[in-house]
Symmetry: C2
Subunit: 158 residues, 2 copies
Amino acid sequence: MSLLKRIKYLIKKFTEKKILLAIAESCTGGYISHMFTNISGASNVFERGVVCYSNKSKVELLNVDLKSIEVAGAVSETVARQLAYNVRILSNVDIGIGITGIAGPTGGTKNKPVGLVYIGYSTKEEIKIEKHIFQTDRIHFKELVLEKVLEYLEHITL
Amino acid sequence: MSLLKRIKYLIKKFTEKKILLAIAESCTGGYISHMFTNISGASNVFERGVVCYSNKSKVELLNVDLKSIEVAGAVSETVARQLAYNVRILSNVDIGIGITGIAGPTGGTKNKPVGLVYIGYSTKEEIKIEKHIFQTDRIHFKELVLEKVLEYLEHITL
């Protein structure tokens, strides 16, 4: 099934269950929000997206702890966790998603290579962080992250 | 020239001139941010994007006056103006862009048809609001808005 068809199905399901979603995305730069909002009726489910590209925007819009960014780096498990949890709480929605990574082709290091991405998921019941390494071009990188997000949302029971 | 090539050229120019950009997009749902961040080096120019899909997010993240939304509607010149101006001030950047419209296919009225969109541009020197009606599908609608944004940015002198 195409990505858009899967999103369409999710929006139908979440609309019926009255589940709201908010997304804080750094390295995917608005792509996840864009794909959800390509579907008519997305506004029943998609409450807001924040493209927190700069560290300043992560702190100002999503209350990420500046100390965490300084110590662990913007691309880290702790920042993904804060993005997911905080966007859920601040938006007062059921599911918060936080994404931070290195889309490349520059910006990689030995410990944090290009393609590294942390995806955080927060609900009232749980918080979960996935770590992946997707070494490809910027656009395909975004698609691979979206696939992971869809897999999570398709299997969640709320 | 393709949209991506035009964005690439803009990012190069703005990087050299140290011009920063922030975008508040409602009906385009993250597409403008997504397209800018497809270009490597976007982080030198693109400070943040806010996908303020719900009215609540327009008020909470961008200080849009709730009264304006109630009186003029979320899709209005005054809201586009506030989105553009406020995202610029809140992000402390050189150019703020605010977009609000009705992507359709539902949500249109006689006075505010599907395809109506207001695009606000704010710099230290000026504030400008464009009104367009793009009656097409949701994805092409987003592309047409992006073209207008690029035309503005290509002709701006800062």
